[in-house]
């Protein structure tokens, strides 16, 4: 349904979900309300339509080149499922290996703990600013806000994250956080916010990239602390991996003295060889490239080369609760490629902000309610027509439509008060289970003919919930008899 955040905390029924009051997993509006506003933004619709169509076509082309794509997908799914079945063991192995190579591992139960750990680590270095590699985990926990609250300046270095940060905006896509902005809008943001920017800046992509490069280069060179996420953490070697396109991540990962990586616990893979599968699946699914330009890997610290202090923060923030959901746990297989966003007809029209979470689109519609508990994101599982395009492109074959349906049921079954909808659906279930009642109900639906007064369609103005349909679509007048009725009548008399 379309309920917003309920006033009271749900009864504790199991493992802790992501806490309220911190992070960006909950919106302040229900999806239908937020979408209604977004749908009226013609510029947003044009920008999103153009961008998603471009990426979607690129992806389809490069995926089509891989003869064994379906086997790769199956391998990715199998690797993730096997890893999740022994997640605790792989995480402890990762901790041992990172520690053995001179890194320090921290365990964060939730967003608050992770933010406290990172803040403390940054403060211990005595620096007043950090550079950041694009990271979903740190967006999820609102790390930037936590650091800024204690006076530490945060510089996003991913081009799209920089656009979002300079524009005082929110990310709207997992891979391309500024997908909702076009070149002209980006030029305006840069011209207004970058100190000393060339006043003749145009919206030509190279000019925009050069302006960002000049702005960022100074920060890379003076930064003493960098913060990153991780695409994969290899347990057997203690290797962290960041996959990117721009090289700005590489600058952050190599230049500063201290590197702090925040990684969701589901990002662990058992062996180095597992990367063989995921590094083929990820770039083709995300940017539609055969191979991404920069893949950085590091394990612990290397004397005289790169950061001399390395911290790995392992983040739960509701993930263990997701793991406990035998249907929903597949959502933890996500490698954040965003292919599902780019093919989703709902995302393409409503945009990422309508989901209210840093995880938008089909994966967000399952991951956000799973992390927060379904009642805190109750409208998201319904934000899908269940068309199945997401499942079709998912590189690790997450059955998103089935999980959406599962979460709808979890929401319905969590209601303590009986809703009008539940009364109607329960009554209808009784009717549809009993042929005699069903035939009576079908006959009753013919009362609609009275409203039509001989016209082929029902009136446009009808009470809710039917009005949801009739505001924009005609509803045919019910016929004088049903098929089964007519058939039975004709074939009885024939005998």
């Amino acid at each position: 349904m379309t309920a917003t955040v309920p006033p009271k905390a749900p009864t504790f029924l199991g493992l802790p979900t992501a806490p309220r009051g911190v992070g960006h997993l909950r919106g302040d509006q229900s999806f239908p309300d937020a979408a209604r506003t977004a749908l009226r933004d013609g510029q947003l619709r044009a920008n999103l339509g153009h961008a998603t169509t471009t990426i979607r076509n690129k992806r389809a082309k490069v995926v089509g080149e891989v003869a064994d794509w379906e086997q790769l997908r199956a391998a990715g799914k199998a690797l993730k499922a096997a890893t999740m079945a022994h997640l605790d063991e792989h995480l402890e192995e990762l901790e041992r290996q990172v520690t053995a190579r001179g890194g320090t591992v921290h365990w964060a139960r939730d967003a608050n703990e992770a933010n406290e750990i990172v803040t403390r680590l940054v403060q211990a270095t005595g620096t007043g600013e950090v550079v950041k590699v694009k990271s979903m985990a740190t967006q999820e926990i609102a790390l930037n806000e936590a650091l800024e609250a204690v006076g530490i300046e945060v510089f996003e270095t991913d081009l799209a994250e920089l656009i979002v940060q300079l524009g005082e905006d929110k990310p709207s896509h997992i891979l391309v956080p500024a997908i909702h902005k076009n070149r002209a809008e980006i030029r305006e943001i840069f011209a207004r916010t970058i100190p000393g920017v060339d006043p003749g800046l145009t919206d030509e992509p190279r000019q925009l990239a050069m302006a960002a490069r000049k702005h960022l280069r100074e920060r890379f060179l003076r930064a003493r602390v960098a913060i990153s996420g991780a695409n994969f953490g290899v347990a057997e070697t203690g290797t962290l991996t960041v996959v990117e396109s721009e090289g700005n991540g590489r600058m952050c990962l190599t230049l500063p003295e201290t590197l702090i990586t925040v990684m969701g616990i589901e990002k662990v893979v058992p062996t180095w060889r597992d990367l063989e599968v995921f590094l083929q699946l990820l770039p083709r699914s995300s940017t539609g490239e055969r191979m991404n330009p920069y893949t950085s890997t590091w394990a612990g610290v290397t004397p005289g080369d790169g950061p001399q202090e390395f911290h790995l923060v392992l983040l739960d923030n509701g993930r263990t609760a997701v793991l406990a959901d035998e249907v929903g746990r597949e959502a933890l297989h996500c490698i954040r490629c965003s292919a599902c966003l780019n093919v989703c007809p709902v995302y393409e029209r409503a945009g990422g902000h309508a989901y209210g979470s840093v995880y938008p689109g089909p994966i967000g519609a399952i991951l956000s309610p799973l992390l927060t508990g379904v009642e805190d994101n109750a409208s998201l599982p319904y934000a899908s027509s269940l068309c199945g395009a997401c499942y079709e492109v998912c590189p690790v074959a997450i059955d998103i439509p089935s999980i959406l349906v599962h979460l709808r049921a979890e929401h319905v079954e969590a209601q303590e008060k009986t809703t009008a909808e539940a009364v109607a659906f329960r009554a209808l279930a009784k009717v549809m289970s009993n042929p005699r009642l069903w035939h009576l109900a079908q006959r009753a639906s013919r009362l609609g003919r009275l409203l039509s007064r001989g016209r082929p369609t029902l009136p446009n103005a009808l009470p809710p919930p039917i009005s949801g349909w009739t505001r924009s679509r005609d509803l045919p007048t019910p016929p004088t008899s049903t098929f089964v009725e007519q058939w039975t009548r004709e074939h009885r008399s024939a005998k």
Binding site: M1, S385, L386
Partner: protein, 265 residues
Amino acid sequence: MKVALFATCLVDTMTPSVAHATASLLQRLGHEVVVPPTQACCGQMHVNTGYRREAVSIVANHVRAFAGAEAIVSPSGSCVASIHHQQADVARRAGDETLARDAEELAGRTHELSQFLVDVLGVTDVGAYYPHRVTYHPTCHSLRLLKVGDRPLRLLREVRGLELAELPGAEQCCGFGGTFAVKNADTSTAMLTDKMANVLSTHAEICTAGDASCLMHIGGGLSRLRAGTRTVHLAEILASTEEAVTPHQSTKPAVSRPTTPAVTA
């Protein structure tokens, strides 16, 4: 072959002509059609709206109604997909293993119309005549869950007099999605608008598909716009012949054709 027809709750109640067409098509192809009178619904609307517990008794009624049928055919990709992918799961989750097994067994004998025609009966030319310009919308569940592929198009290509117009962006959802159309009416309408724009760009008289539900959505939008293009179920097209057009269906050209001869050639 003796074929049991599952009309689906929507077709039975709102568009009986689709079920009549399915029956007369199968009879014309030499098969005996039976209509179990106790059939109602497959349970999909309940499952997809979150009422999976309540759906169990609906599934049980469906399984009872079609018990013993040799082959079951339905003019709906979505309902057949629910029978194949949801019914047994719903029963099993509720702890009813017997019902789950019965539902699985029944699913094995249940076919979507185009798959039944092409795969089971082995026909693509069903002897139909339908002198209209038609565009085909592949519905999401028939496309992605049942993987009907180009079967409906192969059937349509064999229809005499039918001019097939390719639908741009065909594989994009029309925005129906069951209760999604009401719960997220604005987003659903935005999706429908783009679907209608593509349908209208083909200058087809008729938009067809294998699901009456999606067609009620697209047709409801087109009718609201007073567009000349209308929606007709695939079964009604395949049932039409020179002698008899499907009952309850007008066949007059309805939309002005493009003036450039290249497009119509």
